[in-house]
Structures are given as C-alpha cells and as structure tokens.
C-alpha cells in the first residue's frame, strides 16, 4: 500500500523534473547542430555556432556589460541592504516602515512599470546613456532581494551577542564585524547570489533602456527576432554554465547553513 503510493510519487516527481529539464536538453541539442536550421534532435555534432559567437561583437559587448552590471549591482545592493538592515533592525526612527516598504517595492511593482518609469524619468533628466541608466536600474531592482534576505538574517541574530562582545571590550563596529557578520554570512551569500542572478537575467525592465548598449538577455531577444541560426542556442547554453555553478554553490553552502542548523 505504502509502497505503491511511494512509486506513484516517484513517477510524478521524475515527470516534473523531466518537464523542467526538457527545454534545456532541447536547447543544448539545437546548439550543436552543424547546419543553419534549429532542429532537434541535432543532425550531427558541431561547435561552429559556439565559435561563431566570437564574431558577434554585439554579444561580446552585451556579455561584458551584463557581467559588469551584475557584479556592480550585487556589491551595491548587498552593501546598501546591509546598512539598511542595520538601521531597520537595530534602531527606531520615524518612517521606518515606510523605508522598508520603499526598499521592497520594486518586488511588487511590475517590471514593465519600473522600466517605463525609469525610461521617462531618466530621459527627462537627460541621462540617455545605457551604462549609467542600466546601472541605476539594476541596483534598484536587486536591492529588494538583497535587503529582504539581509534584514531577516539580522533580525534573527540576537542583539545580546553584540552586547556581550562589547562588554568584553569590543567597540560596536568591532562587535558587529566579529560576532554578527559571521552569523549572518550565509544570509549575505544568499543575498549576493539573489542579487547577481536578478541583475544577470533581467530582461523586462532593461529593454526599456536600450540607447547605445544593451544587456545579454535583451541582445539575445533582438537576435532571435531577425536571425534563425543556432548561435542564440549556443549562447543560451553557455549562459547555463555559470547558472549551474551558482545553483551548486547555493545548495552546498546555503542549504547546509540555512536548513540543517540545529
């Protein structure tokens, strides 16, 4: 009885996993096609579309910009998130709830609206360079993800630990760095990963700010509008690589610290 139900659950589970993984497998298959058609299963094996990426200056430039934005906005949003988190969890001030809501609001406001709002605001301010405008946008978009995780990590860390460190001779800054930071480290790593991924994959809002340069997801989308060879599939497959690394990192580091803590 129990065994049969178990088997049923297993089948359901594997089916779900297969449905999730299938498009990625097809993508990988398509990317190694020798011909110009995007077909699956591939009619042979070739890495020519991967090699072709080197000739696509648009992709190379977009990749550079995307990584720059992802790293930059991660640093900014984790730093700001940490400072905001300290303010929110450690101090009482007027309009505290308002600040928290403002920081988290990009989570709720539709990306289309955020993108549009940035477009009209930045162009009316005369800021029409993609790098600057995208940098601001990505910091705003990633901040709520980082802040949320950091605020809850800080809220969970006991205040008396810092006070104990102070009573033993540590200045408040020292106490924070030597006691609280190690405790919230998993939260900081999670916040950084969330921020990085959020920036890296952002399409909806970023496409509003295409003036002179653009990001990888937008560039990829523009490419498949006009071309149909497997270059885009090859690029997408390459993007999977760092994502897989991040997922493994996330699982082994965060999973261990966050969920198996006694």
């Amino acid at each position: 009885m129990w065994n049969r139900r178990h088997t049923g659950l297993k089948i359901a589970g594997w089916t779900m996993a297969a449905i999730l993984a299938l498009p990625l497998i097809v993508l990988l298959g398509v990317s190694v096609n020798p011909g110009v058609e995007q077909v699956f299963p591939p009619q042979g094996f070739s890495l020519r579309w991967y090699a072709n990426l080197a000739n696509r200056h648009g992709f190379i430039d977009a990749t550079r910009l995307t990584l720059l934005l992802a790293v930059g906005s991660t640093i900014v949003s984790v730093t700001v998130g940490l400072l905001a988190g300290i303010a929110i969890t450690r101090f009482d001030f007027l309009g505290k709830d308002l600040v928290l809501t403002a920081i988290l609001s990009p989570l709720i406001v539709p990306q289309v609206v955020v993108g549009m709002a940035f477009l009209v605001t930045l162009s009316s301010l005369g800021i029409v360079t993609s790098v600057v405008s995208l940098a601001i946008l990505h910091c705003v978009i990633t901040l709520p993800f980082a802040a949320r995780v950091i605020v809850s990590a800080l809220a969970a860390s006991s205040r008396s630990l810092e006070e104990a460190a102070q009573s033993l001779g540590a200045s408040p800054v020292r106490a924070f760095l030597s006691v609280t930071v190690p405790m919230i480290r998993p939260g900081l790593v999670a916040a950084a990963i969330f921020a990085f991924v959020t920036s890296f994959e952002n399409f909806t809002a970023s496409q509003f700010l295409v003036w002179d340069r653009t990001t990888l997801p937008v560039e990829l989308y523009n490419f498949v509008q006009t071309e149909s060879d497997p270059t885009a599939a090859a690029l997408s497959s390459l993007i999977l690589l760092p994502v897989i690394v991040l997922v493994i990192l996330f699982n082994s580091f965060i999973g261990q610290h966050m969920f198996s803590r006694k």
Binding site: L161, Q166, S167, L168, G169, S171, V179
Partner: protein, 357 residues
Amino acid sequence: MAVVELRDISANYGNNRVLSSVSLVLAQGEFVAVLGPSGCGKTTLLRVVAGFVEHTGSVSIAGRPCEGVPPHKRKIGIVFQDYALFPHRTVAENIGFGLRLRKLPRAEIAVKVDGLLTLLQLRGLADRYPSELSGGQRQRVAIARALAVDPQVLLLDEPLSALDKKLREEMQVELRQLQQRVGITTMFVTHDQEEALALADKIVVMDRGRIRQEGPPAGVYVRPRNRFVANFIGKSNIFEGRAAGRDGEDLICTIADRYGMKIRSEGDPQLPGAKIDFLVRPERIRLRPVSGTPAGEGEIPGTVRHVVYLGAHQNVHIALETGQVIEAEASHEHTWQPGDAVAIGWRPEDALLLIED
C-alpha cells in the same frame, strides 16, 4: 569602598518611565540581588551600569565617572539571560574573546583560559561549540567569559532562569561559592525571591522603576517597610486598622472597629484614630479551635475555608468575620477541616508595622 555608585538614575523607553531616581551603591566584593516582578526596571538598571541605556543621573565604576564612557571601556562583565555565547566559536575561543581583543600574547591567553576552565569545571570541553553543551555548562562558559577580562563588576541578568529547578539550586550554591572565591562585586537581577534570599549580601526590591526597600536578606524579610515588599518577599497577611491607644510598648489597634489587637511598636507614636497597616506572616498566626470558649480579647473569629497539605505543615485558609481571608501555617497537632470555627491571634512582636504605603 564603593565599586559601583548609581546616583539619581532615571530612564525612559519612549513615553514610559522605566526608572525613577534610583540610587544604589555596591561595595567591594558585595553580592547584590536586584529583585522585582517583570517590568519593574531591574534589567534596565543593570543595562544602565553596563552603558547600554540612555539615562539621566550618574554612574561611576571604581570611582571613575562613566558619563560618555561606552560599554566596551567600562570594565564590566555581563552574563545575559540567554548567555549570548558566540555560536561559531568554541568554548575556549568564547572565554578568550576578551583577552584576544586586549592583544595579550597567545601563551598568556592559553594560561588564563585554562585557569578559568578549571575554576568552572569545564575541563575537557574547551573545543566544544556552545550548541554541544548543556544548559548548566553554557552558563558556566558565560561566567568564565565574563570573568576572563578581570571586570570591576560582574552583572548577571537572570542567569539561572533558563535552568530546571534542580540544576538551578545547584548553580545557586556554585555561583555563590565562586563569587566569594573570586571576590568580585556582583549585581544579580532576578524575579525569584528565594534565589535572592539565598544568594545575596544585600537585596534591592524594585517596583515600577523605583527601589522600594534595600537591605540584608534577613532584614528585608523580617522588616518589610511597605505592602509591596511584604507581599513580594515571603507570604504576608496584611491587616488594616486604626490606632486606639498604647499598652506599654505595644500599640493597640482596632480592626473593623471591633477587634482590639496588639502590635509591638517601639517609639513611633500613632495618633488615636490614625490608619495603620501591618502584617503577620502565615507562620506567626496562632490558630485556636473555637468549641466552647468564643473568641476572646486579642482574637479574631473566623471559619476555615480550605486546607492545603504541604508535608511538613499545612496551610489553613481562613475567612475572618471582618471579611478578610488570611493564610496561616499550622502544625499537624490539630487536624483542620473546612467549616471549623477558629479564632486567630498573634504575639504583639510578630505583627510588623508597615511604615510606608
């Protein structure tokens, strides 16, 4: 010599006044228990000494005024209610934390940590993490960590409340012995009156942000000055009456305008008709069955409500004819039954006049 001197301390949380002009002195080596119900301001007072709370009035530690001195420069040791051990550091690292901050040579730290491990019976646990320790061990690590930096004063915030009853009693004895051996001035915050009576050289009873009475445990127990202290420390039957005159060294007081009772009261003259509050401890109430003789002079009649058997003695709850319900501790010489008619009384010297509200 005064190690800690608090003068006229007041503090607010928002619009709430949590401390109102509290003054307190801790002498060298003294063990002071600050006792009171939750919300009376006792923990806030401890945090004032530590420097974590904004306040008015002055604090000085070892003769040095603390105004503007941050907690990390105050030479204090604190043991928190939740112990606040650093979870990602071992027992030895926790104890050595303050020593490393002081940049002592590594060998010196090792010697000191080793000594504390021995003193607190933590040998063999040096490399454990706090999550691998029992409640009593955690508490000992917290004390060792606080003592490591040779503080001027040790502040203990309900350190025994997280332990079960048996361990708590063991730790009380241990804590007291340790404190005497180290000779450190200690301020101990607790809501447990037995703990305070058992441990302290001096008890400070607080209520609603004020000190209501301070003194040695026996003094506070035997001579409570007001209703609050009388009720909070030990059990009390509090009577209200009016002064009716004197009989030698006793004050005669009428209760419910009918029963004339005597209270020992040297000196303080009470105007006839003045309102008088006094208390009689349950163990000092005398009980007499009223079978033939009705309640006489110096007695108040009543009826037994119920009896609680407590092994060594029994607690008899009595509804007096004045309407008041009192509690008396009785031996097993007589078996009391609900409904029994009784007369209560006391020796004049067992009635304690409350001199404040």
